[in-house]
């Protein structure tokens, strides 16, 4: 068992709005460079269990990135994630949106299933834990400066 990556942060909006932005506006905020084509014209997350996550390229080709496995708005969302990899190598992304008081949301992102990526996964995962801890303060200050 390889421990999942965990990322937790708070957002200044209610859970239903956060859930809606993550799903309905996936196209708007997902970094376009993190795609197969590098510049997709559209990124789609179909809003239901079994829904596809894919990018559409300029010539109309649809390239699958994953599949929604849990659809429980506004609390829980999970999907298989295999962007630029075979579906057999998919990892699991699970999001939990919970009420954090004063109309804010606590979002927990859990990225697991690293063992499917092969023998090296354990090492990447362990190396990555330090990376997350170092990253979060940077995040927070970046986001705070954008909000004020």
């Amino acid at each position: 068992m390889i421990e999942p990556l965990e990322l937790i942060f708070e957002i200044d909006c209610p859970p239903d709005h956060a859930f809606g932005v993550w799903t309905e506006r996936f196209d708007q905020w997902w970094p376009r460079g993190h795609s197969v084509s590098g510049d997709p014209v559209e990124i789609v997350l179909e809003p239901r269990a079994g829904g596809r996550i894919y990018e559409r390229t300029a010539d109309g080709t649809e390239i699958d990135w994953g599949e929604v496995t849990v659809w429980q708005p506004p609390e829980r969302l999970a999907y298989l994630w295999h962007i630029r990899r075979d579906r057999a190598d998919a990892t699991d992304v699970e999001l939990t949106f919970s009420e954090a008081g004063d109309g804010t949301t606590r979002l927990r992102i859990l990225h697991s299933g690293w063992e499917r990526l092969g023998a090296g996964a354990d090492e990447w995962r362990n190396a990555n834990r330090g990376g997350w801890n170092g990253l979060l303060p940077h995040f927070t200050s970046f986001l705070d400066s954008k909000e004020t």
């Binding site: 905020w29 997902w30 970094p31 990899r85 190598d89 090296g120 990555n128 986001l143």
Partner: protein
């Protein structure tokens, strides 16, 4: 020069093959030659060599001389590139998500109270 881990020839593609995953697993115990790897695998030496070439191009293993033979070992930089990629993707995505979520809420509040 580190290779993009998810691109063509990158680490994820290199590890999509079970034989190459076995090679990485064997090399976790220490450096080995092509012959030593082939002894523990159900494939031929030339096949092991081909897999090693792909792993080397993906930045996951390095080749070095040891006495009269060449041995292969796991390459830390390949692991670092994968780590950097994951931090980059989630870091970037979460930051952008939070900005959109926060700003769209603020906009609707302003609309109600002009």
């Amino acid at each position: 020069m580190p290779v993009d881990p998810v691109g063509a020839g990158g680490a994820f593609e290199a590890l999509s093959d079970p034989n190459r995953r076995t090679i990485v697993e064997l090399l976790r115990d220490g450096p080995r030659s092509v012959g030593e790897l082939a002894d523990d695998m159900p494939i031929s030496r030339p096949a092991v060599s081909r897999h090693l070439r792909l792993l080397r191009e993906a930045g996951l293993v390095t080749e070095e001389p040891l006495g009269t033979r060449n041995v292969y070992r796991l390459h830390d930089e390949g692991v670092d590139a994968l780590q950097a990629y994951l931090i980059d993707v989630w870091g970037d995505a979460a930051a952008r998500f939070r900005i959109v979520a926060t700003n769209t809420t603020n906009r609707s509040k302003r609309a109600r109270k002009p």
